[in-house]
């Protein structure tokens, strides 16, 4: 068996959050990502879904080493990224890029579109002549659907969708092997979402990129992913192939999420059974004992408060963390 591109093992990212304390600061650990493990094969897209505050974005940044992991490992072709020194990390970074949620905020307001797209090239292919850089930038702009004549414009002169195209061009210019998409379309108008998603998928196919697609929008994730991981308070609830997740979800949380996705047919929409999730997300500073979802779970019983459910296999490539998934 070939080595997966990315192997994440028991990854934990905890932050120290200052909570009260007048003279002596009282720090509480915030477990943004708490023991995640998964593999990502070359060319595969893994969708990561969950409510805001469940650690999705933290996970993406921890994988790219933009945030330090508290423990656990992120292995790139078998090599642990968390143990690399600065120079090695820089060498590895050229293969992994990120597309951000807020397209405008992720572009330097004092740089022209051309300079922004060229930046990774300038960092990694230092030998390139300025004519060669220009040619590559132009090619990228055409590929993402920007007019090359816009090269001298500044980010604020572009629409949100165009800004995101610039962001994608910047991420793709080095032909990366892994791209983390952190809610790349949730800040965009509905009308341009599909274009941007398709653009991402085109790149993925052309360059055989592995993608981590982070989103809270289940329909978008369904469209783009091959496998889907459902997160809740920094933990995996369910991890399965797309069709299994959407067709036969096992975890009560996944079931609730799926049933909340509107169906564009009023008849069916009214008829479909709904699983409601009551209440709000509990504070991540004080997560529930046992199963973190138990405070909102319709199936919760005593055992849920006592022991933490481990990920069990519920079919080929289907894992669920729930005591009662069989019911």
């Amino acid at each position: 068996m070939t080595l997966p591109l990315l192997q994440v093992r028991d990854l934990k990212v905890h932050f120290q959050v200052r909570a009260g304390g007048i003279f002596f600061a009282n720090y509480l650990p915030l477990k943004a990502v708490d023991g995640l493990s998964f593999d990502l094969a070359a060319g595969e897209t893994l969708g990561i879904v969950g409510e805001s505050g469940c650690g999705k974005s933290t996970l993406g940044r921890a994988i790219l080493q933009l945030l330090p992991a508290t423990s656990g490992s992120v292995a790139w072709l078998g090599k642990d990224l968390t143990a690399l020194d600065r120079a090695e990390l820089k060498a590895h970074r050229r293969h992994m890029q990120i597309v951000f949620q807020d397209p405008l905020a992720s572009l330097d307001p004092r740089m022209t579109a051309g300079d922004i797209i060229a930046e990774p090239l300038r960092n990694y292919e230092t030998g390139l002549s300025s004519a060669a850089i220009k040619a590559r930038v132009r090619e990228m702009m055409e590929q993402v659907g920007l007019l090359p004549s816009m090269v001298n414009r500044y980010p604020h002169e572009f629409s949100g969708g165009q800004c995101q195209r610039i962001g994608i061009a910047r991420a793709m210019i080095l032909k990366p092997k892994l791209v983390v998409c952190d809610e790349p379309v949730s800040a965009l108008d509905v009308s341009i979402r599909a274009q941007v998603i398709n653009l991402l998928m085109d790149f993925q196919r052309a360059l055989n990129i592995s993608m981590l697609f982070i989103s809270h929008d289940l329909s978008v994730v369904r469209h783009i992913s091959r496998r889907v991981m459902v997160l809740y308070l920094g933990k995996v609830m369910e991890l399965a192939d797309r069709d299994a997740i959407y067709g036969a979800p096992r975890h009560p949380y996944t079931q609730a999420l799926i049933s909340a996705v509107p169906i564009p047919d009023p008849e069916k929409e009214r008829a479909k059974p709904r699983v409601l999730v009551a209440g709000d997300l509990p504070s991540p500073l004080d997560p529930p004992s046992g199963c973190v979802f138990r405070t909102r779970c319709p199936k919760a019983t005593n055992i849920c408060a006592l022991t933490v459910p481990v990920l069990e296999s519920a079919g080929v490539g289907h894992e669920v963390a729930c005591h009662h998934w069989r019911d």
Binding site: F100, A105, S106, D108, R110, E142, V144, L199
Partner: protein, 303 residues
């Protein structure tokens, strides 16, 4: 990418795109600066004053320190004697003195501000961006320096290194950078957590790289404003130090000193105040216009 064309990319009519020459922020800024009339006028007048200060004293019939014994009383402007703006109460040519004073004042303003700019921006940006212990260390040092009175500092420098003209630039610069460092640090702190900085890191930028390419251009607007405020401050500080006998000495002079002297004889001889004061205020005005223009020019959002 071997010319792949994606269907989802709206057909970009690349052919109609005429211009594809990358421009930098600096070229853009220069263009915008030239479009700003007040800034251009400021630049031209400043250049004129600077030029006059540098070469003017060579062209005048009187030098700044020679005394015209025949006109030892303050003389009104007249052409026959070559005192185009008259003389001061010691019979020295006022125009020559004002132009020579301009040399000193502009030099102090320029050098001390440059020193302040370089140290202040570097320290501020590094402290703000790197954060943690580096930040603590640098900023406590700034606090420490703040608490040392300027005159005391200058006197110590004089004692250690002896009387030296260049020392004054250094001393003033060394004091003025403190505020600059604080301002830049504050700005950097707000920039540090912006997504585009994270994006730069993900694109493989090193810390030095990110500071130079992303932090500095974004703090430049504020820095520019502060610089235009610092130059006049420095010019005045020089006259203060000179007044205490710690700066330059008679018969050398500067605008600050000339204004000081002129103010003393305001009632008998207002000319000796008005002439150097006019030069100085004109310079400061022009600097302000130029500073404003630069700030606007460096902000791409401002059109």
């Amino acid at each position: 990418m071997n010319g792949i064309k994606f269907t989802s990319a709206p057909a970009a009519p690349g052919e109609i795109a005429g211009e594809f020459t990358g421009r930098s922020l600096w070229q853009d800024a220069w263009r915008r600066l030239l479009a700003n009339r007040a800034a251009v006028a400021g630049m031209i007048i400043l250049a004129g004053i600077a030029l006059a200060s540098v070469i003017g004293p060579f062209l005048l019939p009187w030098s700044y320190d020679s005394i015209d014994w025949e006109h030892i009383e303050a003389l009104p402007p007249q052409f026959s004697t070559g005192h185009y703006l008259g003389t001061d109460s010691l019979g020295r040519d006022l125009l020559a003195r004002t132009l020579f004073g301009g040399r000193i004042s502009l030099m102090v303003g320029l050098l001390a501000t440059t020193v302040a700019l370089l140290i202040g921006v570097t320290v501020g940006a590094v402290a703000g961006f790197v954060g943690g212990r580096t930040d603590q260390l640098l900023m406590r040092f700034v606090d420490l320096m703040y608490s040392v009175p300027l005159t005391f500092f200058v006197i110590i420098l004089m004692v250690v290194f002896g009387r030296n003209f260049a020392l004054m630039f250094l001393a003033i610069g060394a004091v003025e950078w403190l505020t600059m460092a604080r301002i830049v640090r504050g700005q950097t702190l707000t920039l540090r957590n912006k997504e585009f900085i994270e994006a730069a890191r993900a694109s493989g930028g090193s810390t030095a790289n990110i500071i130079a390419r992303h932090i500095l251009p974004n703090v430049l607007g504020v820095v520019m404003i502060y610089v235009t405020l610092t130059i006049p401050q420095v010019i005045l500080l020089e006259s203060f130090l000179s007044f205490l006998g710690l700066g330059i000495q008679e018969p050398m002079t500067s605008w600050g000193m000339l204004i000081n002297d002129g103010a003393a004889e305001l009632e008998i001889n207002p000319r000796t105040l008005i002439i150097p004061a006019t030069f100085m205020t004109t310079t400061l005005f022009c600097l302000n216009f130029l500073g404003d223009g630069l700030r606007d020019a460096l902000d791409p959002k401002d059109r």
